[in-house]
């Protein structure tokens, strides 16, 4: 946990340092960009909680096109586990395919297969045993510099003794999800008690809090990490050499398929 926090703070420092400390100026300019063949984007998640589970399929567009991403209809979407169950997902809304029968069982490996226009995109993800949240605590900080005053949440959990646990944490405030990506692995905290500190968004008295701790496999962790790298840059972060996130889907599909083993705790700030 320690290193992850430092890591994020330092990424912020570098960004702030390079960009905003100087007599810089920003303006929109015209840079012609190439067109590209639309690529398929598949976002699929299965958890240990009750379904339905969703798979969203869309396409990429050219960069300067308006932000409407065409949904992909009439895809054949199949979710299966390593115990022989198979379910074909029905298209519910435009581009959104949902399950009805399947329930994620920890210990199973799930496979997502999407067939569109004669091409198949396949990914596998292992559903871990969920790691439980021990407790949530809130800590008050007054306003300092840019940071607002309010309650910041600590999430306590214990990392299992085997090496190789990867996590994504989610936070909701009054039902709205915190957009930041919170991920970590057990490289430096294996087997220890962890204090995950949500230091970005404060809560105020009366807010409802929902925190979810999701255990994920390594390919999904790497997807989130490499996705974060690009999205952070888009906000003007460290100008490094960007590349598409590392996906567990085959055949050059963008997006990913993840099996998330989740434990959720709710609370209210009093």
């Amino acid at each position: 946990m320690n290193f992850r926090l430092i890591h994020i703070i330092i990424k912020h420092i570098i960004f702030i340092f390079i960009i905003s400390s100087l007599t810089s100026c920003e303006d929109i300019i015209d840079i012609p960009l190439n067109s590209s063949e639309p690529r398929i984007v598949i976002e699929g998640v299965i958890t240990n909680l009750d379904g339905p589970y969703t798979v969203r399929i869309s396409e990429s567009v050219d960069y300067y096109d308006p932000g409407e991403y065409p949904a992909v209809n009439n895809a054949h979407v199949e979710l299966s586990d390593d115990a022989g169950s198979v379910e074909v997902l029905e298209e519910n809304e435009d581009g959104l395919y949902i399950s009805s029968k399947m329930k994620g069982q920890p210990g199973r490996t799930y496979t997502l297969k999407v067939e569109v226009d004669g091409k198949a995109y396949i990914a596998q993800s292992y559903l871990n045993t969920p790691v439980k949240i021990d407790s949530l605590k809130k800590e008050y900080f007054p306003a300092v510099g840019n940071r607002e005053s309010g309650y910041y949440i600590h999430c306590y959990f214990t990392d299992p003794p085997e090496q190789g646990n990867n996590y994504r944490l989610f936070a909701w405030k009054n039902g709205e999800m915190d957009e930041n990506l919170y991920i970590m692995d057990d490289k430096f905290i294996n087997g220890q008690s962890v204090d995950y500190y949500f230091f970005i968004n404060p809560y105020q008295i009366g807010d409802t809090i929902s925190i979810a701790l999701a255990s994920i496999d390594r390919p999904v962790y790497e997807y989130y990490q490499t996705l974060f790298n690009i999205v952070a840059q888009q906000g003007g972060g460290n100008p490094a050499n960007p590349a598409n996130p590392v996906s567990n889907l085959s055949n050059d599909a963008l997006g990913y398929f993840g099996a998330l083993a989740v434990d959720v705790q709710d609370s209210v700030v009093k």
């Binding site: 430092i6 390079i18 100087l22 067109s35 590209s36 960069y63 840019n146 490499t226 003007g236 590349a243």
Partner: protein, 764 residues
Amino acid sequence: MIFLVVSRIFGQDQVTLNGHILDAENGEVLIGATIFVDELKIGTATNEYGFYSITMSPGKYHFEVSYLGYKSLGIEIDIQKDIQKDIELVTFSENMEEVVVLGDRGDANIRSADVSLTRLSIKEIHAIPVLFGEQDVLKTIQLLPGVQAAGEGSSGYFVRGGDAGQNLVLLDEAPVYNPSHLLGFFSVFNSDAIRDVKLYKGGIPAEYGGRISSVLDIHMKNGNNKHWNVSGGLGLISSRLMIEGPIKKETGSFFISARRTYADIFLNFAKDTLIKNNTLYFYDFNVKANYTLGKNDRIYLSGYFGRDFFLFQKRFGIDWGNSTATVRWNHLFNKRLFLNSTFIYSNYNYVFKIREDEGNLDLKSAIRDFSLKEDFQYYLNPDNTLKFGAHLIHHTYVPGEISTEGSFPVNEEKLELKYALETALYFSQKYKPASWLNFEYGLRFSYYMMLGPGEIYNLDENGNILDSTYYHSGEVIAKYPGLEPRFSVNFRINRLQSLKLSYNRINQYTHLLSNTTSGSPTDLWVPSSNNIKPQIADQIVTGYYRNFKDNMWETSIELYYKSMANQIDYKNGADIMLNELVETQLEFGKGWSYGMELLVRKNSGKLHGWVAYTLSRSERLFKNLNEGHVYPSKQDRIHDVSVVGIYDFNKRWSLSGTWVYNTGNAVTFPSGKYQVEGKTVNMYTERNGYRMPAYHRLDLGATRTNNKKGKFESSWNFSIYNVYARKNAYAINFEQDENDPNKTNAVRLSLFSIIPSVTFNFKF
């Protein structure tokens, strides 16, 4: 070759004239000054310590001693036995701003076997355009063909398609890891303290090793050993002061110089209040002392210490800096054998700081070197100089160390240190068998070892960990021998033209990993190991040199091809911060670059300066990047133009101007976009498939020399950076429109608009 050398030794009785060539006013040694025997048509030049040695048959001769910016001196000497003689030269003008750079260096570019070497003597450095009141060595070399600034606000430079970590920078023999202050605006070299600068872009001689693209060898002054001097400058952006004087008249001297910026002034030009509450400055010190112990011995002590500070809103900050300490001893074994022994300590580190009410945290990374060098020069005769020696460097790498104060919720941690030993033996000969032919050949044998203690991981070719082994202190983890031949030849067509050719191979054992497009002080230096092989470069250069009008005009065209093996880059989406196992995040491949450099230079007259044009390509091929296809490296900058002009209007006023133009870096831009979790994500296709917009900028300066009042000399310098305020793109970000979330834009970030500056320079 050895045979030819040996046959000369047993020639008839020869006598040797040796000694130092010095500046008459302050006793400083003159590096590269020439002494020429008219009757015999032989000559030699002084080395980095001002030492010369010339051997001839006994007789009475006229010796012509000359050096750029100084009055030539003719001496009659009847030499019947070995003579030791120090010779003093007088500068051309008494003014502080020596602006006339004469063609006395004249045909050095035609005569010597040095290829791709640019030399800036003290006079030339003071004749270059001034920026922010200072004449900056790093800024000047970036105006030469083949050398490119890494970018605005950046701390590096690229030479012939190589990256910023492939340049060796030496300050009085000590390597400097980060030669820039303030994101590249100033170099760590206080130009008041510099005596001589040499830049090798190719044809690197055997006495240098360890970096494959270039060598920037800087020698500091020794200090006036005749009388005291104080000089300095007070400016809007920075100020500097130098005090020099004799320890014992004409025997020993010292100098101390210091410099500090208060560049936070920049920040006040910003509109954003978020910017005002920041601290941004640097300071540096240079200290040097030397003492002549006798006819054959001279000892030097030098030190450099500098640091940059940045603190944002008093809460987050970075500071970084180099420190070096060097002890050198020149010893003359006999009239012809000169030895320089050097012992060096060098430390480069940077620290991230977090300052909260609850406590403080420092995260430090460093690289510490101890090094020993023995360099011999044997002046066999005027046509034959031998150089040989041994170098040894012990490196300690501190990849990351956290220390905390107060109740900070983080434990103190330390990533494991790494150790390495880099050694080399070299031999080279400069030989001139005929008046139209001279060449230099040499061999450097380098041997590198990575040493324990440490837990070492073996990785497969994709960077996955296979297993690990623990090594004890001193155990060899990896070793790499290297054989580095060096060769250059000069075919002198006539007094005004020559054709040159050179080949060198160099190994590099310490690597700079950078994840930013333009370099930052937080780039990481890593050693070669069981997983990282040394970089190796082979470079061939050919050039044609032609002077006109009695050396007033110098022109040259050089073509080069450089092939680089074992190049390193980060994996896509690499996790680099505080990564104990940073080696798992690397990819390896090869690179090559080639180009043509044109230079036209006017060396004398009221108007002087140069025009440089470089046409070049630099490409990379990595199995796991860009899907295994060739892609341009970020420093692939096709066209690069520099125009430098200095006009000495009259004794009082001098004007200077610089215009630079280059096509943009190769860069990766999105070719589309898509949505994940409701967020717009940029989509990328090929790596470095786009170019940044072209960069160009005009700087102007004017210097007014005031009347000399007794011993007090002064001048005013006015300069303007980026005169037509072009918004050169530092970065281009692709992001959602602030007002319309459906729209995505290309947003250009430019750093520096027009920046004026005034400096008052003085000397007494």
